[in-house]
Symmetry: C2
Subunit: 571 residues, 2 copies
């Protein structure tokens, strides 16, 4: 595959920095944004006051480190490999073990599209559990736990900002099930990150091809692009061709945890015939993906046979793919869902690789009309039951949530989820706060996402402008990620997350002082901010003018205000 | 001017309808969106079930009525002229009376850019007050009051949706100062609309040139464009050349109320020298604009001399143009603001034309850091005092609010405003919930706008993607309006505004039934929704496929769900 098509570059006026661990020999990646000095004229002389660099959370991985040579055909450095090996509770398997994985490997016709490097899969030793939750419950602090503690704090210590986040706190939250570190032992390329209400709000992006569109190269480009703009995790929702190979390329080159919905691929294996789905096929799919390194699985195990009856009462029925597949299976077989009946077995697979489970909300409302109805909340009860079951197996859990919810019904979702699922992190899609704006659903849903995450939702799943209409292209991914970075950050500010205001205050100060370049560089999308500015400044590009185009040179409120402040500060 | 450059067309599959008044011979304009039937196969036969048209609030005026011939050079039909004349409390003046207006009229060099039609200004007869608040307090119901009552209700009566909005209710809200109908007697082209927490949330758009950009034609195009997409009121914030003439073109062609900030023009008249500003120049500007037909004035009369001291304590000082001008004036003259000391006189001018006052928040925070600080809330106290004063003169009042506010501080703004200003409608700019996303501030602020309007803010002032960077072009106006339509509508849904859910439910039903065209037509931006859809359907344009591109043909959750519902509905 051609690296030329991977659209990333370093961030402007920024440096990749690495903060050393104190407990472990780890290097935590962050981004430092440099600033220009504040310039004033004092007694007729130009005086410069330096502005400290601002350290921000960085999801882009090695792609923005000019010292690391990226080769898409080799995959990213396997940062966590030694940490995992050092624990000595796993072993490298002699071969992959899923039937499907073997068949794909042996299919010569796939050679041309296959990821060229192979890594033997790793698995827990017999009788061992290798999940972060397992370690946390034993009282252990892992390198992953220290990594996320340092990562969440950025430069708070240097700034003297008080924080409650320590490796011990991380361990306790993971042990209690209130946070997860999704980190499959077979995805050592990913940098550890944490999802929980006590931590900064995270955002997930969805990519993936469908029968109508998109090749492997395009999907890898989207994955890297998503990380560049700020996606914290990535779901590969492919339902088209070569799902197995596409996933391998993505995982090997993805610096953030990767999630999937295994039932999609299982259905492809039976050529889309729901009634042909079996537990055995699903089980083989799980193992196939565990061995590839998927970090979390969406499993719609809360959709039960009895829920089918409730679907007909809704305005928009069941809009979850996984939910509708399982409902159809239950109806056609007149049996309880195999995801539900085999849930213990699923957990026993997952804890061998540390794959987290994201309990899917197959009954999420597909319209504001259906929000908070009986089908939705009945399923949530089942998810609570499954959460406790997963925890018995030391499997980390997050709970998926809606969907389409008017603002007045958002809080009930959060409150019920916390209570029903014993504090397991909530992971919501939006919610969209109105249904009337297709082509702008990144906005209808950013409103809901900001509100629900300010109330405690730990991760929000992005929605792009193309939602309901088409698959997102690179521009849509960028728009969706930025809208959700905004929602997540607004929630962090609202919750008073330690240090959340540092970047806002720095950007506001730069804005007030007409340090235009700093304003761009500190923003979520420096390229676009600069481009918009320059469109109105064709004659004076890059000028640090003491006015902006809105007011024009004669009329700048901020300049007047500065002049007044200068003249009043003594009085 | 060339009509070809005014970018509007009728809405797709929609009809302009007019609902007759019961008290007055008025015709209330609305838009009816037609729908295709629901098609099912029953016993092997195709059966069609009709879907009722959906009636929506329409701000586009005559531009979307194919039966009305638009001529930008003549202006819109003067719908309210006879209503005003019939009240017999105003008289047409023999001539315009502002010095500046006369000077511009007599300047031959302006002939080429002058609006070609002239209308003599109308004014209250000696000793009369002609405001809607005055009439309401007398117990009168005006045609304007009946108009807005019908307009707010849409087709609720036909649908059997209970509503509390009657002409009597409108009158009582206006009398109490809890709502305003901004309707200058010299802007009879505008359709009456109401701003108050008991009514649907409204949105304002800002346009206007600056010294760096934009001619008259471009500004008129933006005004019409704003109304087309859903702007409820329009502020002309021009600070560049030919402000007087630009405004005349806009007002004569604008079907919604127009607001201005008269201090901007006053400052232009003294060539930008703040210290040269006088009450006399400001007063002449007010009269000039009252006679042209401006419907509401932003007046920063709450910025007092003492506030200057507080500006220096902020991270971003004073970011309001009007606020900074008045602060500078107070400091330079060491006098109290003439807007404050002459406020009674201002009100006595305004009630002769029914111009509402929008009390400007000169001390609004320019960063989340400065939100809810002493300067901001001290000014709010003054705005409360001025509200009560304006009401003594029967002048309608709205109160402007911030700005930049993190989510956790939004409610305090609303609560304090209601209490301090005795329930006068709140009109907020956003607020932006974070400062880190220039180029996306329509989103950072739509989040805040949705929240604050769900708490009772009556009107939200849009922010475009270009905020802080540049002046908006047509695309930015569209993006800003739609983001704010979303925020306003999400708030209406949240508040349970009568009938607010009708459009959502219709669109959701269309979506579920794969009536793609209806989904587009019912949306806030049919053109963009359709375009996004077709981008992925190049081979089958306009096809009413039973799947969408996200899932592809083999995998549609909604189709599966429908099939299940069909098979389960008997059980």
């Amino acid at each position: 595959m051609n690296i030329e098509n991977i659209n990333v570059s370093v961030y402007p006026n920024s440096t990749k920095i690495y903060v050393n661990g104190k407990l472990f020999p780890i290097k935590v990646a962050m981004r430092e944004i440099h600033q220009y000095p504040t310039v004033t004229i004092e007694n007729g002389k130009r005086v410069e006051y330096p502005n400290e660099p601002v350290t921000v959370y960085d999801t882009s991985g090695p792609y923005t480190d000019p010292d690391i040579k990226i080769d898409i055909n080799k995959g990213l450095p396997r940062k966590r490999e030694s940490w995992i090996a050092d624990r000595d509770d796993t072993e490298v398997q002699p071969d992959i073990s899923s039937e499907y994985g073997k068949a794909r490997r042996d299919d010569k016709s796939l050679d041309a599209i296959r990821f060229p490097m192979t890594h033997k899969p790793r698995k827990a030793k017999e009788g061992r559990r290798v999940t972060q939750m397992h370690y946390a419950r034993k009282g252990m602090i892992t390198p992953e736990m220290e990594y996320v503690a340092i990562r969440e704090n950025l430069d708070n210590e240097k700034r003297g900002i008080k924080t409650y986040i320590t490796p011990e706190f991380v361990r306790d939250e993971v042990a209690a099930g209130r946070a997860i570190i999704a980190a499959n032992i077979n995805h050592p390329e990913a940098e550890p990150m944490i999802i929980g209400p006590a931590f900064s709000v995270k955002l997930n992006t969805n990519i993936g091809n469908s029968a109508l569109s998109s090749g492997i190269e395009e999907e890898v480009a989207k994955a890297v692009w998503s990380c560049y703009w700020g996606g914290d995790t990535l779901m590969d929702l492919s339902t088209g061709n070569n799902i197995h190979e596409t996933r391998e390329w993505i995982i090997r080159n993805c610096p953030v945890p990767v999630g999937t919905v295994p039932i999609y691929q299982a259905l492809e294996k039976v050529n889309g015939k729901v009634s042909d789905l079996t537990w055995e096929i699903y089980r083989d799919t799980l193992i196939e993906q565990c061995e590839q390194g998927v970090d979390y699985f969406t499993i719609h195990a809360g959709v039960l046979r009895e829920h089918a009856l409730l679907v007909g009462k809704r305005l928009t029925g069941c809009v979850s793919r996984g939910g509708s597949i399982m409902t159809q299976w239950c109806v056609e077989h007149d049996q309880e869902s195999f995801l539900y009946t085999h849930f213990d077995e699923i957990c026993e697979i997952l804890n061998k690789y540390d794959v987290a489970v994201s309990l899917g909300d197959g009954m999420r409302p597909g319209s504001t009309h259906d929000a908070n109805d009986r089908a939705q909340f009945l399923e949530l009860e089942v998810l609570g039951e499954l959460t406790r079951k997963a925890w018995q197996h030391d499997v980390q859990v997050i709970i998926e949530g809606p969907g389409h919810v008017p603002m007045n019904k958002i809080r009930e979702n959060m409150d019920k989820q916390v209570k029903t699922c014993d504090g397991a992190p909530f992971y919501t899609l939006g919610p969209l706060t109105t249904d009337i704006a297709p082509a702008y659903d990144h906005i209808t849903s950013a409103i809901g996402a900001a509100i629900i995450s300010s109330l405690g939702t730990a991760m929000i799943c992005y929605v792009t402008p193309k939602e309901h209409l088409s698959l997102p292209d690179l521009n849509d991914v960028r728009d969706g990620v930025i809208a959700y970075k905004i929602a997540a950050h607004a929630a962090d500010l609202c919750k008073g997350f330690p240090g959340a205001n540092v970047r806002d205050d720095a950007l506001s100060k730069a804005r007030y002082e007409f340090r235009w370049k700093d304003q761009f560089n500190l923003s979520l999308d420096p390229e676009k901010a600069k481009r918009y500015y320059l469109e109105s400044r064709r004659n004076a590009p890059d000028a640090d003018d003491r006015f902006c185009t809105m007011c024009g040179p004669n009329f700048c409120a901020m300049r007047i205000s500065q002049d007044i402040a200068g003249s009043c500060s003594e009085s």
